[in-house]
């Protein structure tokens, strides 16, 4: 039981850290990766909370597909990284 508590707290801390990084990092590529990391850790959290169905959706769509879609969009706005 104590193991799950520690794991949950560590995951939450890393999630908060990467969410702040997603907001404030200078490079947009790094922020997209950080946002994907938030989703990936959220899916682990769902698994700990005994919701495997939600965890699968979050892992596949949140951290997989949406990250890639952000990269496609990033390529389209080449030259306007600050805009």
């Amino acid at each position: 039981m104590i193991y799950f508590w520690v794991l949950t707290i560590v995951i939450c801390a890393v999630m908060l850290g990467s969410a702040i990084m997603a907001l404030y990092h200078k490079s947009l590529a790094v922020t997209v990766i950080a946002a994907g990391l938030v989703s990936l850790l959220a899916s682990i959290l769902y698994l700990i909370l005994a919701a495997p169905d939600v965890a699968m959706t979050e892992a596949a769509i949140g951290s997989g597909l949406s990250t890639v879609m952000f990269f496609y969009v990033l390529r389209r706005m080449r030259g306007g990284e600050n805009g």
């Binding site: 596949a60 997989g64 597909l65």
Partner: protein, 233 residues
């Protein structure tokens, strides 16, 4: 400055709403009435081993239809606004040659990924997973294909055909439920079978397979459009 004040006000509003939710939270030892009904009657009524699936596909099937509709409208809006490059423009742009490693691993992995996606949505009534998850896994396989061959343009017709056929069949099964069973999207138009086997739970595996195909085709179509999009308008 004004912007910051607005952000602070919005933040305070969200904090207020969440505080109300937090304060009204009481730890419950028993399930609320609706959940108790689902948990106790669900397996006998619908015959699905995964209770989440029986709620998502049958008890709250209308919500799932709504989600599929939202995804469909998103895909059509993206297709409407993005101009795609022609095949010649794609070739002219001259993509960097993809590496041998990516090519080989794609040829090896993509069939396995597709198979796993199909397993996830076909077995959605037995184990965790279902249409949306399986569809997303299939779309990630398609993505790997696109990464290996950026100039590819085959399969567009198949994707749109699968998408429309499965969408129509999904609604058709829903309407069949009105006539053959208790109501729209009722799964008991087919026999519920033996609990825990692959051919059980009535129409749930059929509906979830159709949703999986539709979601997979839809997300693949979105990826296709983003891949072929023109750089500037």
């Amino acid at each position: 400055m004004v912007k910051k004040i607005f952000a602070l006000i919005a933040l305070a509003g969200i904090a207020f709403m969440l505080w109300g939710l937090f304060k009204s939270y009481r730890h419950q030892e028993t399930l609320p009435r609706t959940s108790r009904y689902y948990a106790q009657k669900g397996p006998d009524e619908l015959g699905s081993a995964n209770l989440v699936t029986s709620v998502v596909v049958t008890y709250r099937g209308l919500d799932t239809l709504g989600e599929v509709t939202i995804l469909f409208s998103v895909a059509s809006i993206i297709g409407f606004f993005l101009k795609s490059r022609t095949q010649r423009e794609l070739k002219a742009e001259g993509f960097r040659e993809t590496s041998e490693l990516l090519h080989t691993s794609t040829a090896f992995l993509v069939p396995i990924i597709f198979l796993f996606g199909a397993y996830v949505f076909v077995g959605g009534h037995l184990s965790p997973g279902g249409g949306f998850q399986g569809g997303a896994i299939i779309a990630s396989g398609t993505l790997l294909l696109f990464l290996a061959t950026p100039t590819a343009s085959r399969g567009k017709t198949i994707i749109s055909l699968v998408e429309s056929v499965s969408g129509v069949a999904y609604v058709g099964i829903g309407i069949a439920g009105i006539f053959l069973a208790a109501g729209f999207l009722d799964n008991r138009i087919l026999p519920t079978g033996r609990f825990g086997t692959i051919f059980s739970a009535g129409a749930i595996p059929v509906i979830y397979s159709l949703i999986g195909l539709k979601v997979g085709a839809e997300l693949s179509a979105i990826l296709y459009k983003l891949k072929d999009a023109k750089e500037d308008e």
